[in-house]
Symmetry: C2
Subunit: 231 residues, 2 copies
């Protein structure tokens, strides 16, 4: 088995979500069947979106510090439990010899493989949208990503920050409002492209998204990690 | 803030439970308010109970390997998300300069502080019971720990292993049966003294334990970790 290192804490609950999804996607009958994982839950990494908008400290040195900690903890591959942090992935890849799995690439591969998405909507942070993290990766593969207009995007962003603040009820209400508008916009596919979004999705009624295929970036990353690290 | 290192993977779900309890017990309004944690989820650590009964590989070298990994990841204090593994805590403490928090000591301090427990029952693995991990620690403080007779203990142990095998429904039924017998035995206090037990408790109806005070070792450890690591 290989040991995976997770750069986490962005936020901690999203890191829990990735951890749980790795466990659930592992075929295990006893403790020892599970894969070894080192989680560097490092919530002090500065806000990614704020930096992308030119308002905050650069997260890169903190992300690198986390990479170094995980290298010293002898991990065989790396990943990050934060979509927005993928803005820095190429710089991180240049700094380490440890293979670095990209969540964005995993989602892209899955959507290409399924092949039947007509209109793909992106539920992500303002930072991920502005930096075109998904847009660029998908454009290279001939696929178009749609982000949401101001009002919906604002609801998504606010619900993400409410969740990070532990205000689950408010987060849920804001997110429900976003989803009910999105529902009317003829998307057949949605990317849960912020690690807080699957946590938000778990708070709302599944029926709200009936008929729309949701690609959960966290779940897809978890599956990739398990398939790479098992035996 | 201090960085805590968690020796985990015994099992992974119990490690998630400790991680979640640390997050929930932290007063945080944004990611950066949370404490830094390194989790070494190392499910390959051999079965603790099997070893205590002379049937399996010694977990100590694996636990030490985990301590070394966490030391290299620059943690400021250590703990373990497994009560039975505390059989080895003194040997581990001798091997590291990093302060090592004991779950058993944290539970003992809490029970002494509350001061009103008359009959304390221990829900734990066969290994924790046989090695008298709680019994000895509490005896030194003048407190008596009661473990359960064969039939109930067997139900508890089986439910723990079913949970580790991911068989939640069966685990829940076995555990419910154990609790309904325990309920008739005049305990006023119970220690959830296996990290799988709080997970089992979360699966059953709270009313089943009405009138009995439950000391969740995982929750108490989480609170201690937060108070030690915050600022």
């Amino acid at each position: 088995m290989k040991r995976v290192g997770i750069i986490g804490g962005m936020g901690p609950e999203a890191t829990v979500d990735l951890f749980v999804k790795i466990i659930k996607n592992t075929d295990a009958k006893k403790d020892q069947d599970h894969i070894p994982i080192v989680i560097d839950n490092y919530p002090q990494i500065p806000d990614r979106t704020a930096y992308i908008f030119g308002r905050g400290e650069n997260p890169l040195p903190y992300l690198l510090e986390s990479v170094r900690r995980l290298e010293r903890a002898s991990v065989d591959c790396l990943c990050m439990a934060c979509n927005t942090a993928h803005y820095f992935i190429e710089e991180l890849r240049r700094e380490t010899k440890v293979p670095f799995i990209s969540m964005i690439e995993v989602v892209l591969e899955k959507i290409v493989e399924e092949g039947d998405c007509k209109k793909i909507g992106l539920m992500a942070t303002d930072g991920t949208v502005k930096a075109k993290i998904y847009h660029n990766a998908f454009e290279n593969a001939g696929l178009e990503i749609h982000n949401f207009e101001g009002g919906i995007q604002r609801l998504i962003m606010e619900s993400i920050y409410k969740l990070k603040a532990g205000e689950h009820e408010q987060a849920k209400e804001l997110f429900k409002n976003a989803i009910s508008v999105i529902k009317s916009k003829s998307y057949d596919c949605l990317i849960a492209g912020c690690t807080e979004v699957p946590v938000l999705l778990s708070l709302i009624d599944e029926e709200l998204l009936e008929g729309i295929k949701v690609f959960d970036a966290t779940e897809l990353l978890a599956k990739r990690v398990v398939s790479l690290c098992k035996d």
